[in-house]
Amino acid sequence: MRTLFTAALLLAAGTAAAAPTYPVLATQSSLSFVATQQGEKFTGVIRDFDARVSYAPEDLAHSGLEATMRLKSIDTKSPDRDQAIGTADWFDVARYPTATFRTVAMRMTPTGPVADADLTIKGRTKRIAFPFAWKATAGGATLDARVALDRLDFGLGGGEWADESMVAHRVEVVVHLTLAAPVAAAPAKPAAH
């Protein structure tokens, strides 16, 4: 719903060009990360997020990905760990409730599209390369990505927690978005005030 609304606004503002915007089907999409604690991998699912996807391979200039993640919704299948993860040493959700992802440029490489994006977690922004796989489907498309990050780049578990034997520095972010057919690219009527 929110996605549709955002898309409508953008269309109304005239910023959207040929790259169509795809509504994200929340129930068939997931945003998660895989981290390693004491040699054991665990998955944290970010249940509450919004994403906006505009993509056309022939119009990368107007393609873009955006996401806002509400970190209180992280679920690692361990209430103790979920609670620990929200504290000041880690995501500090009280002060930084959301993380954001916003592409600044999109390029095509021999292995597929890559978004150069600003990822902001815990108030720290880092430019990352975000390669993804795009597949057109009958009803829309799917977007899949798997990107490795260093948690220390975002101040996640610094100080004493920097010890890798407890929690590894490398964290993989796994994205799977199921997208419905794009919103009609017809000129939208002016937004109602």
Binding site: Q37, Q38, G39, E40, F42, T76, K77, S78, P79, D80, R81, A84, T87, D89, E160, W161, D163, S165, M166
Partner: protein, 184 residues
Amino acid sequence: MALRSTATAWGPVTRAFHWGMLVLFAGIVPVGYYMTDLPLGPQKLKVYALHKSVGLTLLALAVLRLAWRLGERRPALPPMPAWQARAAGAAHVLLYVLAFAIPLSGWLFNSAAGFPLQWFHLVNLPALTGPDPALKAAARELHESLVAVFLVVVGLHAAAALKHHFVDHDTTLRSMLPGRGGRP
């Protein structure tokens, strides 16, 4: 010296298991009580990790010790009332049961809590069950209660051994102590 127990004394393997495990138990129990009150932080996780590694070591030793013990003969007891012999035997059985049940209940708690389980940074062990808050609370209770029972039984067991040694002046303790002491 033969490795096996004889008609008069426990063999060196049984003695090594007995006193080696005593040392580890003497270390792990206070660590267990101490660690739960630590503030959350890497230090706490490290102490937990150590507790779990030593606990798993004790579980492995319990398996080996029982396997060895099943092939052993029991040295004859010095003369004592039948009830004492029976009580000693029951205590030994109970101690074996607890040597399995305590670490297994810890493992169960750890699994239900969704904590990782690693043996001294070397091997990771699987969870016995998925995360489960109700089971977690029950397993924690169980772990703690079994330790309490263990402490009582070990206390009686040790007191009995010392009584035989210092009051009855018999060979019970010497048959288990390191060295050559056996029963005449």
